[in-house]
Symmetry: C2
DNA sequence: TGTTAGCACTCTTGTAAAATTAGTGCTAAA
DNA sequence: TTTAGCACTAATTTTACAAGAGTGCTAACA
């Protein structure tokens, strides 16, 4: 990478520029750096270095006679090599512990709480997604007669999560029949991933099926996508803290609102983006800066995410904020919260 | 009321002023009225009338030498007595019919779609709440063993809506025991309202209960609020169209954003407000203008809602927008959509 | 008595010029 | 290699002024 090409001094200046920009949100000039940070260099020298950094693509000029602004590449280098790890204060950690580690609250409550906590700590938009069923292993299926021609399908997953769907079969079913179907489904599907089931449901139910189960099986076939889909996650994903983000100075210009509004209106956008970030780093924290994520609408934002564990599956916690964010602090918060959340979920279930 | 005190001419002027203000969002002056609307009166006369209307509290002055702006009272009089009913165009009606009356979509899909449709038609913030369980009659309770010490409670309501809750009982239960409890619960609770059950659960389960059911019953007692609560509704309430509302000219000043953001962030605020509106008018459409609703944050907004029916229970559809909205059109849209929605839900379930 | 015309006055809005500010790039000197 | 100095730029803020819209009031009119 380019890190070899940068001298120590250039790195220092770059760090200061980014630091300063993060604080003030306005282009930072050479004199400013030379004064504020006790570096034995004159503005002119700093100017030269900044010009070099600009040539290398780490900084940018909105126009002549304005200070420098970090580019995406600049931020990237900053988070990769320059940033000093931030330690949460004991108060913050204790706040997180106390908020999340309390017993006796619903799982969904925990997630919502976590999201609210994260957005309060970072003053940014926080998001906690529900674990994806896709990677979950089906433990068993139960069918419950609801009366009329309705049945309730209860899916239990290894991690202990339960999902229910009501299904309309167009004829009243006999209890015996349903029991038989239930047995068959369990024999052939349990232990598989949801995604596998979706793909191969039809094949797996082929053959050796009692003739008079057929009509009901057909209903199942038609609804397989619905039953084994993942949309649940969308409903149970929590996005909080929009109030914080609109206070950021970058919102002086109205147009940016659109994208944020859309963000909280359909969670799908964020969820999709968080999925995308998963592909890059599974274990560690993932940082996506500006144009690095595919969605154009979010070119002006960065995304910091980390997975948390729930049984065998994993959800994500993360934040969305302007590219100019205190990465070190945000990363520390996200990481710590994800850990506490994992711990809490393990204890309770 | 004051309607007696207003002459025909005053009413006409008031109507025109409000009309004009709805269109332009900026204070309307006397000359403007005198010219635009073919009224045989000079600006000066109009001025006099407007001054009278101001004394009566229907209009307001931002400052000397600005045009007049309707007050809440002005709007109230307008929607009560002045407004001409608006007829939706056949195109609009057909659009609504086609969107909502399609078969084979999930109930929740229908609600979401309805909300989106309504916000598109009105260009305002639309909201569709899930029917309240509180007023629903419990049809039956089923208990399903999930394995381990977990059970799933399935509540079926008269309207066909089903609600499920997983419950952790701290000891493994025997099938026979559960069946017995299930029977008892059904005998004593079915046919009652959720709200009644919440209040009297303990009393109803008093006496003649088998000794070894006790521990499980106790878990039920502890969780009764959770089981028969209404929070489900919050999750299944859809709020859409925020992107529209931020385009309104009243958003030139940033501060107003806060309230809107909060509105879509916790749906509770809107849901609560819609509940509140229910107290006023159960059957017909309800209009709340500016300060008429208790939540200060929404003093600058109006709320138009109507109930729709689902089985024995009722949900709400409504819109939130700046006080300066085309009430007649909005009312027409809300009413029509609520009707179509009721029809659709009746057909499908 | 209700209506209108005229006029002075008040605010807001728009625009253009001027002053201010923060910052750069370049050259020459240390 | 670093620094100081200087000319130059682009954005921002200030200021001033003119135009427009609207009111309130008084006096005249039908």
């Amino acid at each position: 990478m380019f890190s070899q090409e940068l001298t120590e001094r250039e790195k220092t200046i770059l760090r200061y520029v980014i630091h300063q920009f993060i604080l003030t949100a306005s282009p930072v000039g050479s004199r400013n750096i030379s004064k504020k940070y006790e570096i034995g260099l004159s503005p002119a020298t700093v100017r030269n270095i900044m010009a070099d950094l600009e040539d290398l693509g780490f900084l940018n000029h909105p126009h002549t006679s304005a200070g420098r602004v970090p580019t995406d590449k600049g931020y990237r280098f900053y988070v990769d090599s320059l940033m000093e790890p931030h330690l949460l204060s004991p108060q913050e950690m204790s706040l997180i512990d106390r908020s999340i580690l309390q017993e006796m609250i619903e799982r969904e409550e925990v997630l919502k709480l976590t999201s609210m906590l994260l957005s309060n700590i970072t003053n940014l938009l926080a998001c906690v997604t529900y674990p994806k069923f896709d990677d979950a292993l089906l433990q068993k299926i139960q069918l419950v007669e609801l009366g009329g021609s309705k049945i309730l399908i209860v899916l239990t997953v290894k991690s202990g999560v339960v999902k229910t769907i009501t299904l309309e079969i167009h004829q009243p079913a006999e209890t015996k029949q349903l029991k038989a179907i239930e047995r068959t489904l369990n024999e052939r599907l349990s232990g598989l991933k949801f995604s596998e089931i979706r793909e191969s449901f039809k094949d797996r139910l082929q053959g050796t099926i009692d003739e008079n189960m057929k009509p009901i099986i057909r209903v199942f076939l038609n609804s397989v996508d619905k039953i084994f889909s993942d949309i649940e996650g969308t409903e149970k994903t929590f996005i909080t803290g929009a109030r914080n983000i609109v206070r950021q100075p970058e919102f002086e210009d109205l147009s940016h609102f659109q994208s944020i509004i859309e963000l909280i209106e359909d969670k799908d956008v964020i969820i999709h983006m968080m999925d995308q970030s998963a592909e890059l780093t599974t274990e560690d924290v993932s940082i996506l800066i500006g144009g690095e994520h595919k969605d154009e609408k979010l070119n002006e934002y960065s995304l910091v995410t980390k997975t948390y564990k729930l049984g065998g599956t994993a959800g994500k916690v993360g934040i969305v904020g302007p590219k100019r964010m205190e990465y070190s602090r945000v990363v520390a918060s996200v990481v710590y919260i994800a850990e506490v959340l994992s711990k809490q979920l393990k204890n309770t279930y």
